[in-house]
C-alpha cells in the first residue's frame, strides 16, 4: 500500500510540475514581444518548469528580508523544535528558525555560485578564445598550464588551496573560479578552434581586423550556444562544490545561512525520522534539476536537433 501511495504522489508531483511549466510557458508567450515569443513556443514543458523555478529562486534570493518571518541568525526558540504555526519548519540545532535560514540560504548559496560561475566563465572563455586565435606558443603555454591544474581532482585541490589561503567568501570564490575556469577554457578553445578555420575568419584576418574585433565579432557570437549551455551546467557544478565545501566546514562560515552547512548542522535529526535536514538538500537538488532542464533545451536548440 505504501508503495502505491508513493507512486501516486510521484505521479502527482510530476503532473503538477508539468502543469506549472505549461502555465508558465503560456504566460511568458503572451507577455513577451513577438520575436521572443516564437523562441518560447519551442520550449518543452520541462524547460518551462525549470525557468519558473529559477525565477522563484531569484525572487526569493532578492527579497529574502521581506519574505523571511525571522532574521537569519537570531535564536528564536529551543533547539530542534518540531513544525508548528510559528516556526513553520521548526528550528535548527541552535534554535534558529529553519524557514528563514532556508530563505536566506538561497541568497548566499545562489549568489555566491553565480558570482563564481561568472568569474570562471570570463576567465576561461577569454583565455580559451585567445589560445585558439593566437595559437603557437601562447596556446601551448595556456593549454599546458590548464592540463597541470586539471591533473589534480577538483575537490581535493580546492580543499588544499583553501587551507593554504584561508577560508573566506572571497577566497572561496576565487579558488573555485580558477579551478572551474580550466574546464571552460578547454571547451571555449575547442569550439573556437572549429570556428577559426572558417572562411569568414580568414576573410576578416585578410581585411586586417585586430585581435579584439576578431574575437568579439567573428568568433564569440558563433561560439555562444555551447558556451551558454556550459554556463548552466557549470553553475550546477559550482553550486554543488560550494555546498560540499560548506558541508566539510571550509565553505561559507557560520552564522551565515547556507544550504550545505544546514544539512550538516541538522543531520542528527535524520536518525529520529525527521525530514527537516533534507529540505536544504532538496532545495539544492530542485535548482540543479531546473537549471539542467533549461540547459537541455538550449543545447537542443543550439545543435539543431529535431525530435
Amino acid at each position: 500500500m505504501g508503495f502505491l501511495t508513493g507512486l501516486f504522489w510521484l505521479a502527482a508531483v510530476i503532473a503538477g510540475a508539468m502543469a506549472a511549466g505549461w502555465a508558465f510557458r503560456t504566460a511568458v508567450i503572451t507577455v513577451s514581444p513577438h520575436g521572443l515569443a516564437k523562441e518560447f513556443r519551442t520550449m518543452p514543458l520541462t524547460a518551462g518548469f525549470g525557468l519558473l523555478m529559477i525565477a522563484i529562486y531569484i525572487l526569493v534570493a532578492v527579497f529574502a528580508p521581506a519574505i523571511a518571518p525571522f532574521s537569519e541568525t537570531e535564536i528564536v526558540g529551543r533547539e530542534y523544535q518540531p513544525w508548528d504555526d510559528v516556526h513553520l519548519l521548526g528550528t535548527d540545532n541552535l534554535g534558529r528558525d529553519m524557514l528563514s535560514r532556508l530563505i536566506y540560504g538561497a541568497r548566499n548559496t545562489v549568489g555566491i555560485a553565480f558570482a563564481t560561475t561568472a568569474l570562471a566563465f570570463t576567465l576561461g572563455s577569454v583565455l580559451g578564445l585567445l589560445a585558439a586565435v593566437v595559437g603557437g606558443w601562447l596556446d601551448q603555454l595556456l593549454s599546458r598550464a590548464v592540463d597541470v591544474l586539471m591533473a589534480i581532482p577538483a575537490l581535493i585541490f580546492a580543499l588544499l588551496l583553501l587551507t593554504i589561503v584561508g577560508t573566506s567568501v572571497i577566497n572561496m570564490i576565487l579558488v573555485i573560479a580558477v579551478i572551474d575556469a580550466t574546464r571552460v577554457f578547454r571547451l571555449a578553445r575547442a569550439v573556437a578552434m572549429n570556428i577559426v578555420v572558417m572562411d569568414y575568419v580568414e576573410a576578416a584576418k585578410l581585411r586586417g581586423e585586430g585581435l579584439w574585433r576578431l574575437i568579439t565579432r567573428e568568433i564569440l557570437p558563433n561560439a555562444m550556444a555551447p558556451l551558454v549551455a556550459e554556463f548552466g551546467l557549470r553553475f550546477c557544478f559550482v553550486f554543488l562544490t560550494i555546498s560540499a565545501l560548506s558541508f566539510l566546514g571550509l565553505g561559507i562560515q557560520p552564522p551565515t545561512a547556507d544550504w550545505g552547512s544546514m544539512v550538516r548542522d541538522n543531520a542528527t535529526l535524520i536518525s529520529f525520522g525527521d525530514i527537516t535536514p533534507l529540505l536544504p538538500a532538496g532545495a539544492i537538488a530542485l535548482l540543479t534539476v531546473s537549471v539542467n532542464f533549461v540547459v537541455d533545451w538550449q543545447l537542443h536548440r543550439a545543435s539543431g536537433l529535431r525530435e
Binding site: 572562411d199 569568414y200 584576418k205 585578410l206 581585411r207 586586417g208 565579432r217 558563433n222 529535431r306
Partner: protein, 553 residues
C-alpha cells in the same frame, strides 16, 4: 534504346513527400509519376531543391529524417513498398535495390577495409558466403577497371583516390546483383578527368548486368551520356520526360530550354594587352610549400587590369595555394608577388591596410565565407567603414548602393542574416563585400561551383558587368572548363604545382595543345549522347590525351 516491351520494374504513381520545417509539413515532392523498365537507365535532372534525391530514396521506400511519404504508390517488382513492413523493405535494400551516394569518401566507413565493407551486404542477405563475396569483389573490381583488383580491396578508404573510391562504391552496390541502382550525383565531387573513368565504368557495368538505374544529377552533359530517358524536375514537379535524344534535340518546355541554353554566355574577346603596361598583379617565380612538400614549383603569371585570368587544374594542382600566396596567407619560399610593379610583403600581417584593400577575395562556399551571426549591413558595411572611413548615413547609403549593384533590393535585404538568403544571393553578398573595399584586384575561388547552373550563370554575368564598371582584374580559380570558356581572357593551366600552359584563351583552347591541356579539354562532357562513346574510342586509338596520367594518380 528504350524497350517498352520489357517488364516494368519500378513504378511510382502520384508520389507525394512532405518535409518538416518550422513545425509545419510542406510538400517537397508534388505528385510524381515514374515508370522504370528492367535494364533501363532513367536520368533525373533539376536544380537543388527539385526533389531529385528525395525521389531517389523513395524508390527504396525510404524517407530521410524529417520527411515522410504522404501519398501515392511505389511498386517495385510487384511489391507495394509503402505497405511492406520495415523488415521486408530492409530485405530489399542492398539486395535488390542499391544506392550509390554522391560522396563515396563520406559513405565508406573509414575504419574498415574496402573488401570487408563489400562483403557486408551479400553475407548479411545470405546471397554469398564470406569467401565467395571476397572472390566476387576482386572480379567486380576488375570489371570496374580498378588498378590492382587483387589487392585494392585490402586498403582502407583513405588509401585510394576519390575516383577509385567512387568506383569501389559502385562495385559494392553491385555485390548482390541488384535489379535497380540509384546513383545520386556519383561524379559531382570528382575532377573532369576522373569523372570520365567513373562514368565509363558505371555505364559498362550497368550494361553488363542489365541493371536498371536511376541516375540523379544536375549536369545535363553527364546525364546525356548515361540515361535512356530523362525526366526534368522543378520544385518537386515534373516538367517533362522524354527519350534522351528527343529531350536534347527538341525540348518542349521553356524551363528545359533555359537549362539547355545555360552554357551560352560568353564574354567578348578582349584586345591583347599592350606591351609595357605594368600588370596589376604579377606572380614571379613563386615556390611555396606546406611543411617540406613543395606545392607550387617556380610559377609565374601576370594579371592585367580589366582582364580575367582563369587558373585551371584538378584538385591538388596548387591553384588555391597560388591564391593563398597572393593574399599573403602562405608566404612563399622563393619568389615574390608584385602589385602594380611593387613587391608586396610576403606575410599578410606585414601588409599595409591599403595593400590589403586592393586585393579582395570571393570564396567558393558562401555559407562558410559569411559570418552567420552578422546582418548584411555589417557584412558589407565593415570593409567600407574600415578602409574608407564611412560612418552613419554615408555608410548606409554606400551599403544600399552596393546591394543595388549586386541586384538585390536594398531595403529588403539590408537587415537580413545570411541564413535568410538563397545560395546565389549569399554569393552575391560575398561579391558585394569584396567590392565594398573598392579593390583593383579580386580573386574568385571556385565561386560558381557550389551553385546551380542557372544561378551560376547570373553570377558570371554580374562579375563580368562589374569588371567593366570598375576596371577590375580577376583571378578566376576553377576546375570547370565551361566557366573558363565563358569568362576568361587568359588561361593558366596547372598540374602538380607547375604551370603547364598559359596564354590567351583562344590560343590555349586551339590546337596544338600541351598533352595535359588536351586531356583536360577533351574530358569536359558535351551535350551529345554519343560523346563518351566517341571519346573512349578515340582514347583507345591513342589520341585525345590518352597517354597522360591525370594528376593525383
Amino acid at each position: 534504346m528504350t524497350d517498352t516491351n520489357k517488364e516494368v520494374l519500378l513504378s511510382m504513381k502520384g508520389l507525394r513527400i512532405e518535409g518538416r520545417a518550422d513545425e509545419e509539413w510542406t510538400e517537397i515532392v508534388k505528385g510524381i509519376d515514374l515508370t522504370l523498365h528492367k535494364g533501363e537507365v532513367l536520368g533525373l535532372i533539376g536544380e537543388s531543391g527539385a526533389g531529385k534525391s528525395t525521389i531517389g530514396l523513395a524508390a527504396m521506400g525510404f524517407a530521410r529524417d524529417g520527411c515522410r511519404i504522404s501519398g501515392g504508390e511505389i511498386t517495385f517488382d510487384g511489391i507495394d513498398l509503402r505497405a511492406a513492413s520495415e523488415p521486408e523493405r530492409r530485405g530489399l535494400r542492398g539486395k535488390r535495390i542499391a544506392y550509390v551516394a554522391q560522396s563515396a569518401a563520406a559513405s565508406f566507413n573509414p575504419a574498415h577495409k574496402l573488401i570487408d565493407q563489400y562483403a557486408e551486404a551479400p553475407v548479411q542477405h545470405h546471397v554469398m558466403s564470406r569467401s565467395e563475396a571476397e572472390h566476387d569483389a576482386v572480379e567486380l573490381y576488375r570489371r570496374m577497371q580498378l588498378p590492382y583488383p587483387e589487392e585494392i580491396g585490402f586498403r582502407y578508404p583513405h588509401q585510394v583516390s576519390g575516383g577509385q573510391l567512387q568506383r569501389a562504391m559502385t562495385a559494392m552496390a553491385m555485390s548482390c546483383r541488384p535489379d535497380l541502382i540509384i546513383f545520386d550525383e556519383p561524379t559531382t565531387a570528382l575532377d573532369v578527368t576522373t569523372q570520365i573513368e567513373v562514368l565509363a565504368a558505371i555505364r559498362d557495368i550497368v550494361e553488363q548486368f542489365d541493371t536498371a538505374a536511376i541516375y540523379i544529377t544536375h549536369d545535363l552533359a553527364v546525364v546525356a551520356q548515361m540515361a535512356d530517358r530523362i525526366k526534368v524536375l522543378l520544385r518537386g514537379e515534373e516538367v517533362e520526360e522524354a527519350d534522351t535524344r528527343t529531350m536534347l534535340d527538341a525540348p518542349t518546355q521553356d524551363y528545359t530550354k533555359s537549362l539547355w541554353a545555360v552554357r551560352s554566355f560568353t564574354r567578348p574577346t578582349q584586345p591583347p594587352v599592350e606591351k609595357g603596361v605594368t600588370p596589376v598583379v604579377s606572380v614571379r617565380n613563386v615556390t611555396a610549400a606546406y611543411g617540406t612538400i613543395n606545392v607550387l614549383k617556380n610559377i609565374s603569371f601576370d594579371i592585367h587590369a580589366r582582364r580575367t585570368v582563369a587558373v585551371v587544374g584538378e584538385s591538388g594542382s596548387g591553384k588555391s595555394t597560388a591564391a593563398r600566396v597572393i593574399t599573403g596567407l602562405l608566404p612563399p619560399r622563393r619568389g615574390e608577388i608584385l602589385f602594380n610593379g611593387e613587391a608586396l610583403p610576403p606575410d599578410y600581417r606585414k601588409r599595409t591596410r591599403e595593400q590589403l584593400r586592393q586585393a579582395q577575395m570571393i570564396y567558393q562556399m558562401a555559407d562558410t565565407a559569411l559570418n552567420p551571426k552578422l546582418k548584411i549591413r555589417d557584412l558589407i558595411g565593415r570593409p567600407a567603414q574600415m578602409y574608407l572611413g564611412l560612418q552613419g548615413k554615408a555608410l548606409t547609403d554606400r551599403i544600399k548602393d552596393l546591394l543595388s549593384l549586386i541586384e538585390l533590393e536594398p531595403n529588403d535585404y539590408i537587415d537580413r542574416v545570411p541564413s535568410e538568403l538563397s545560395g546565389g544571393q549569399k554569393q552575391r553578398i560575398g561579391i558585394a563585400r569584396a567590392l565594398a573595399a573598392e579593390p583593383q584586384f579580386i580573386i574568385c575561388d571556385e565561386v560558381t561551383s557550389a551553385l546551380d547552373q542557372l544561378v551560376a550563370e547570373g553570377i558570371l554575368k554580374l562579375l563580368d558587368r562589374l569588371q567593366g564598371e570598375f576596371d577590375l582584374a580577376y583571378m578566376f580559380i576553377t576546375h570547370d572548363l565551361a566557366t573558363v570558356r565563358a569568362i576568361a581572357d587568359e588561361v593558366v593551366v596547372m598540374k602538380e604545382g607547375l604551370v603547364v600552359e598559359a596564354g590567351p584563351k583562344l590560343e590555349v583552347f586551339q590546337p596544338p595543345h600541351d598533352p595535359y591541356t588536351e586531356l583536360l579539354l577533351s574530358s569536359v562532357p558535351e551535350m551529345d549522347p554519343d560523346w563518351l562513346t566517341h571519346l573512349l574510342e578515340e582514347r583507345e586509338a591513342g589520341r585525345a590525351g590518352a597517354d597522360v596520367e591525370p594528376a593525383g594518380h
